[in-house]
Amino acid sequence: MAAIAAPDPHSTRAPSTRGFRATLVYQTLLIVGIFALWEALVRLEILPVYLYGQPSGIFAKGRTLLVEGDLARDFGATAFASILGFVIGTSLGSAAGLLLWLSQTAAAVLRPIIVAVNGVPKIALAPLIVVWVGVGLGAKVAIAASLTFIVALIAVYQGTQEVDEDLVKLMRSLGAKPMTIWRKVIVPGSTPWILSTMRLNIGFAMIGAVVGEYISSKMGLGYLIYNAGALYDLNTVFVGIFSLMALALVLDAVLGHIEARFKW
């Protein structure tokens, strides 16, 4: 029957409650096991603590940073820069990708440029961005936005091309103008790609924000990690890394909910 150019809406099966619980138990065991092994190896002096840190030290450090408020500040700064960069880059990139459908000429002209820009590691643009927008929040957001923009542009344009050509033909046979086809078929037909791009882009936005913090910032998890690393304070480095993981999980969960709402 109809090959609808959209991912199978049933592909993300919700696990059963029982399966979910078992998964949760295994996940906890796995994490606890890794930390126990790590702690033991350090305590038995098989791993040197100055190179690998130590779970008990990481927890103690994390607690101190939390109590003193530094962690919340850094976490908030990175989260804010990531989300802002993500929203700006993903929305502009998605819009540009959708609009490119309207002009084959524009798409053809821009294709090599987009490929070239995409090929450049965006980190290489960081010094330029710092020169243009200065240090601090602006640079972080700009790096995150530029990373996510190009990813969204390419993925969403690809999405518009994957919309069933016969749907476009049907609309034409109904007498629809290109703008109407765009609005009624291309935009809604591309939403699965926009949503999966959002999933990807959360990761890219965090890369952008952290790189921005490495280069030019006085706060944020990237700044925390970079500084602690320079001082061989590995426990603090791990606090930063685990905080980034937590941020990634939270943002991914939020997007998961948004995505679920758009399934048809």
């Binding site: 029957m1 109809a2 090959a3 609808i4 959209a6 809406p9 069933d164 016969d166 749907l167 033909k169 049907l170 609309m171 034409r172 046979s173 109904l174 007498g175 629809a176 109407t180 009624k184 078929v185 809604p188 037909g189 939403t191 048809w264």
Partner: protein, 266 residues
Amino acid sequence: MVNTSTREVVLEANHVSLVFNAGTPKEVVAFRNISFELRQGEILAIVGPSGCGKSTLFNVIAGLLRPTSGSVRVDGALVDGASGHVGYMLQKDLLLPWRSVLDNVMLGLEVRGVDPKDARERALSLILRYGLDGFESAMPRALSGGMRQRVAFMRTLALNPKAILLDEPFSALDFQRRLNLQGDVKRIIREQHKAAILVTHDIGEAIAMADRVVVLSQRPGTIKAIHTIELGDETDPGALRRSAAFNEYFDVIWSELDALVETVAA
């Protein structure tokens, strides 16, 4: 059988030919010199071996492809580009998966800029009348293939086209559903006083549904024969297919197509 010879001509093909890459070494003649007329209330089936240009001819009639020579007229007006002058239905139902049954049926009316209230009313009355009652807010993925095709057919009818083009719309359905839907579509086309062109490779389907069957030759497609089908008033698809008259038509058309295939093989 409906006597249609005195009725108004709805669609007319005059010496239509289509040549791809004309004048180059890669020139391919899809079909040549196709002429026929379709009258109100009539169903005309076009059968032919695969690759005879059936679907290409379909696209020309729909206005999606421009013929190299000749013309297609609907209601006397020259078909020039796709403008929604004819409704069409394909093997794929092409329902928009993010729209409910009702919104899918309304799609064409929406594109035409019909007042949403009127569009809704018209779509609903078709849905209620033709067996989709209670499914108007269902999403396409919840429907069977046969029901999806029904929705596609309602979408076509909603625009009230004079002529409907059917391009193998039943070929993806299982046998039972196919027979039922063939019968329903035929009945509805009659009830609504439409005219239809059915492109198919299924000889039985052509005979069961059509008033006339046009047999196309292998590429380049030309009209090899036109049969007028007279089967009486039998509506039960099973009984129809067991009747002597049905089988006679079947044998004649079958041997014509068979001969065409052998000619190519030789």
